[in-house]
């Protein structure tokens, strides 16, 4: 991967931070969010890795991750993060960007067994138009 000023400071990242109100640079990659995420087993790319991709300017990679759809929007990560990052808002912003592009929602199956009730609620929200 080749990075430079232009790949790091794109309009898309600015937009993302504007929608979410969260600064991706704040995250210091401790991983506590992923450790506490109720869907951590299903995520594929763990939540803290999603943020890392954004720090490295790899927004498209983050947008392609199933994780952003699986995110239950339960805000557990936000409650635990020592840096005050609300990762679920960033997840939401990523979904919003995709929806604004008119990209259909990822084809996810039913919420994985054992996931918190809130997952069902958020799945309903995410999958109803």
């Amino acid at each position: 991967m080749r990075i430079n000023r232009d790949t790091l400071r794109t309009d898309l990242i600015a937009k993302l931070q504007e929608i979410s109100g969260e600064t991706v640079a704040l995250c210091y990659q401790c991983g506590k969010c992923s450790a506490g995420c109720p869907l951590e087993r299903e995520m594929g790319i763990l939540p803290h890795r999603v943020i890392r991709l954004l720090q490295l300017g790899q927004v498209e990679e983050a947008l392609a991750a199933n994780a952003i759809w699986l995110c239950a929007a339960c805000h557990t990560c936000a409650a635990r993060c020592p840096r005050g990052v609300d990762l679920s808002r960033t997840m939401e912003a990523l979904r919003v960007i995709l929806l604004r592009r008119g990209v259909p929602r990822a084809a996810l199956g039913p919420p994985p067994p054992g996931a918190p009730q809130q997952t069902i609620v958020s799945f309903l929200r995410k999958y109803s138009s």
Binding site: M1, Q29, R49, R52, L56
Partner: protein, 651 residues
């Protein structure tokens, strides 16, 4: 008949967990001459010491054996307790049944037998102990500080402020050390010269500090309270007393040479000062690069000098001084550029080290503080910083962490962004070590406010590509290889001891660690002392240190010096060698063996004998072992005592 008391310590479970202490006491009671034996949980505690004092008085003990931890831990504690109870402190012996027994064994039965044997050996020794009196020496209340960096200046100022005169020897032409090269300093970002210049001026002005710049310590003899030092003043080829510091010579000198002070990024003249605010503000001629010394012609400086101060004939002068204590503050260096072939350091001009970056960023530096890359003077838009270069690299560099580079690299990323707002700083790191007051917050500021991108991983290669430098590294956090086309690459090279440090350590007869940093007497409890009494350490001569730590340690060293100077006389352990003159044949086999040069011949009426300078003798006993006529004895460790110990152990 001797009356010996044996005190077997449990040391909590440290000893009692492995050794049956009651059985050891019981065995001791059976030794002839032992009139008292007891055990206690912690004899080093106040009540424990009281038990010993009580037994000394009640049982009229003539000798004491404390079976406990290593003598280096508590020998002095127990000797002091004995003294307070009226027993000569040198009639106390320690049987080390912790480090040399309980800690290294697991079998309780065997450990108990061994502990009893160690106790018996020390009983045999203490029976042959003689009461000794501490030696007394006068104190010269004047200190020598070697090294005029921030640490040396702090120590000198503290000592002088307490009213004791100080000689401050600096090998370079000016005070300040590395700090004089720095631009702004973490964690407050105040400019280095703003905090340094008033300090150097204060030191130079202080009526009790004599600054000897461009000087070196050549020889040190004597001992604590009474050192004699030879200090050589190197020829500057300028008479500094006549010189008025106008620097016309520097202006007119036709020879331009690369400046070490500017890390090769700028030039200096063959005569002149390192930087305009240098203290003392006096020039030196770089003999190796001066046209006059090369060809015998030129002498422009001598012609222009309004006071005739230039003196090509100047030679080294040596003076002798007596001092009571020495503070070593000779600082550190960074790894030389040759060490990092894979980063192209020394090959590509735009690969520089962090000290060079300090100069680029300094308003008195070669670019007046504008950050320009060395190759073409362009403002770099992408700058890669590489941390841990040569540090934490046991295979090819140094195994230790250099401690200061995480912090100064964060500082560099900040300062760079302040000067080049549209630039991007990348920092390759392994861990960010920011343990200090306000340090972690400082690093986070570099990320949050100044957008530094930290990439966790080492860089493998740097090579030129289309007029830039391609940096190949990795981001282990995302598991991806990373390539950056950089305009400038800055290496945070390992902090290392100065090359001359070992030589100075030899002159001072103090130890260095495996890397060459000066060794402290104890890493935790005696961090500013050396193993040689009266010689103290300050600053980065001991290990990589930042400014605040260097200053704190310097004040600590000064406090130690002042504690020494607060006494009229110094007391020293009387466990030194002494000659039985009636048996000495005068062969002086002992003299070359003594590592402390404590032995001199002494003339008697009809013959010569050896004599020991008790102030210099460190009680190592090498001479006693070498003496063929058995005349040399180490007090407290006589042949009879050692044979009695060994005899007891082997029976």
């Amino acid at each position: 008949m001797p009356r010996i008391g044996v005190f077997v310590c449990w040391c909590g479970l440290n000893i009692a967990g492995t050794v049956d202490v009651e059985r050891v006491a019981e065995a001791a009671r059976a030794i002839p001459g032992v009139v008292h034996a007891e055990t206690y949980k912690y004899f080093c505690s106040e009540p424990g010491q009281n038990l010993i004092k009580q037994a000394i008085q009640e049982k009229r003990l003539s000798g004491v054996v404390v079976a406990a931890c290593s003598p280096s831990m508590h020998e002095s504690t127990f000797r002091e307790a004995a003294r307070m109870a009226g027993l000569n402190p040198y009639l106390v012996q320690i049987a080390n049944i912790r480090e040399q027994c309980s800690w290294v064994h697991t079998d309780r039965e065997e450990a108990t037998v061994k502990a009893s044997a160690i106790v018996a050996a020390m009983v045999a020794k203490v029976r042959r102990d003689e009461p000794l009196e501490p030696l007394k020496f006068p104190v010269h209340r004047k200190a020598l500080v070697i090294g005029g960096g921030i640490a040396g200046m702090q120590a000198a100022t503290d000592i002088a402020e307490a009213g004791c005169p100080v000689i401050l020897v600096e090998q370079g032409p000016n005070l300040g050390g590395r700090m004089a090269q720095l631009s702004e300093t973490f964690p407050t970002l105040d400019c280095a010269s703003c905090i340094l210049t008033p300090r150097t001026a204060e030191v130079a002005r202080h009526p009790l500090i004599e600054v000897l710049a461009y000087s070196e310590v050549r020889e040190v003899t004597g001992y604590v309270g009474d050192f004699t030092v030879k200090i050589a003043r190197k020829p500057a080829y300028v008479d500094w007393d006549k010189c008025i510091g106008c620097m016309l010579c520097q202006e007119k000198c036709p020879r331009k040479i690369p400046s070490d002070f500017e890390r090769g990024l700028g030039s200096r003249k063959a005569i002149g000062v390192n930087f305009p605010q240098a203290v003392p503000n006096r020039p030196v001629i770089d003999r190796e690069h001066c046209t006059y010394f090369e060809k015998g012609k030129c002498g422009v400086c001598a012609k222009i000098c309004p006071v005739g101060a230039v003196d090509f004939e100047q030679t080294e002068t040596v003076r002798e001084e007596k001092v009571g204590a020495i503070v070593v503050a000779t600082g550190f260096d960074v790894l030389p550029r040759e060490a990092f072939g894979e980063y192209g350091y020394g090959k590509y001009p735009d690969v520089i080290d962090s000290l060079a970056f300090e100069r680029l960023n300094s308003s008195s530096g070669p670019t007046d503080g504008v950050i320009r890359r060395p190759s073409d003077g362009k403002i770099p838009r992408e700058v890669v910083f590489i941390q841990c270069v040569g540090s934490r690299d046991p295979d090819k560099g140094k195994p230790y962490c250099s401690k200061i580079c995480c912090m100064y690299t964060a500082k560099h990323a900040m300062l760079y962004r302040h000067k080049v707002p549209d630039g991007q700083a990348y920092i390759f790191y392994m861990d960010v070590r920011a343990g200090g007051k306000g340090y972690e917050e400082f690093v986070q500021r570099a990320v949050e406010a100044d957008g530094a991108l930290y990439l966790r991983g080492r860089v493998a290669r740097v090579y030129p590509e289309d007029g830039r430098l391609l940096v190949k590294g990795v981001d282990t956090l995302s598991g991806q290889a990373v390539e950056i086309a950089a305009d400038l690459v800055v290496l945070a090279t390992a902090a290392v001891p100065r090359e001359e440090a070992r030589g100075l350590a030899q002159i001072l007869k103090v130890g260095t660690d495996e890397h060459g940093f000066f060794s402290e007497a104890h890493p935790k409890l005696r961090p500013v002392e050396t193993m040689t009494r009266g010689i103290f350490l300050a600053g980065s001569v001991q290990a990589p240190r930042d400014i605040s730590e260097s200053v704190a340690q310097a004040s600590g060293a000064a406090a130690k010096v002042l504690a020494l100077f607060s006494r009229d006389e110094l007391a020293a352990d009387p466990l030194v060698a002494a000659v039985d003159e009636s048996r000495c044949s005068g062969c002086l086999a002992c003299q070359p063996i003594c590592p402390y040069h404590a032995i001199e011949p002494k003339a008697l009426k009809d013959r010569q004998v050896a004599s020991v300078n008790a102030g210099l003798c460190q009680g190592c006993g090498a001479c006693a072992a070498a003496c063929r006529s058995g005349a040399m004895k180490l007090k407290g460790f006589t042949d009879e005592q050692i044979l009695a110990e060994v005899g007891t152990l082997c029976l």
